[in-house]
Symmetry: C2
Subunit: 207 residues, 2 copies
Amino acid sequence: MIIDVSASDVVAVYRALVGVVAPRPIAWVSTLDGEGRVNLAPFSFFNAFGANPPVVAFSPTLRRDGSKKDTLLNLEVIPEFVLNAAVEELADQVNATATELPRGQSEAEYAGLTLKRSTRVRPPRVSESPVHLECRVRQIMPIGTGPIAANLVIGEVLLIHIEDGVLDSQGQIDPRKLRTIARLGGNYYCRSTDLFEMERPQKKDEG
Amino acid sequence: MIIDVSASDVVAVYRALVGVVAPRPIAWVSTLDGEGRVNLAPFSFFNAFGANPPVVAFSPTLRRDGSKKDTLLNLEVIPEFVLNAAVEELADQVNATATELPRGQSEAEYAGLTLKRSTRVRPPRVSESPVHLECRVRQIMPIGTGPIAANLVIGEVLLIHIEDGVLDSQGQIDPRKLRTIARLGGNYYCRSTDLFEMERPQKKDEG
């Protein structure tokens, strides 16, 4: 099958893209609106991009009707956010926070989650999640227009909280303890349980 | 554990970041240098970000010595690339193409892979991979400086090739047939085999 983007429907392109670019990590993002009300929502167009400084980016795409999601509206007013680790035991809650509630109503409360103060940023953290990345927005970059158009939110990580229970004996995150979930196409999610190791090959200076 | 980025070593921040933001999909990128020589390399700082137009971004970070990787150097000259699906049966080859060969030497050949012509872009595709996204660079955005600093390569997808063997009966990509691999922290990779489904909740117009 060949999908020529210029001759294809946006939804068809979207479906192929989320099927191929997978599994995608989940940004479970808490933000604040101008009145101090918390929004919490998951986004799978997300990754880290570098470490010096630590840069993350996620994309609250425009809705099917072309409007902006609450997370994006909030970041335009209060350019700070927290990334809460989306782990297996919180899968139902992650999904519940994808519900589009009326603006200003708390998805955290709706999903039965509790919040606690952050250290460097104003939006709070999800208490039940074992890892939090406190971030500041560097730039918001819209790319394209209309349904499912990208809005790249590029953020800088200021502080990382990690519960000791997800660390290994060397103080590194143990993926078997953290057990993040990731997004694939359709309604599919993936557990990070079927792991294997490959050592990065050595540099070959000779042909 | 708390990692205050401003007071921490870059490598420590990097290790925490790749442990938390996981599993990460793999951009297995083919590019060309100015002399027409092919480079093929995997990058896990990668995702899609929107569909209108279809936008992908990946980051060839600066090396530990602060220098640019061949993929980035190539894209500065020929701003086109192909994303080849990194699937389970090609895991060893994906890893082999992470070897730093002398500039201009082919990682594809080194890994025993064959290449075929693309349709819209100059860099070729990996024949053995079941899906190819032919892409044009929109922008290259360096963020930060020094070891592991980000270089966001933002690309637009022009054409998608999908082998029929990875599709389901509705013509959508079947994750159980495609079987992409993803990257976690340390030397860990994840197979996309331990799947589950959750339906996106309906909009709640009433509280």
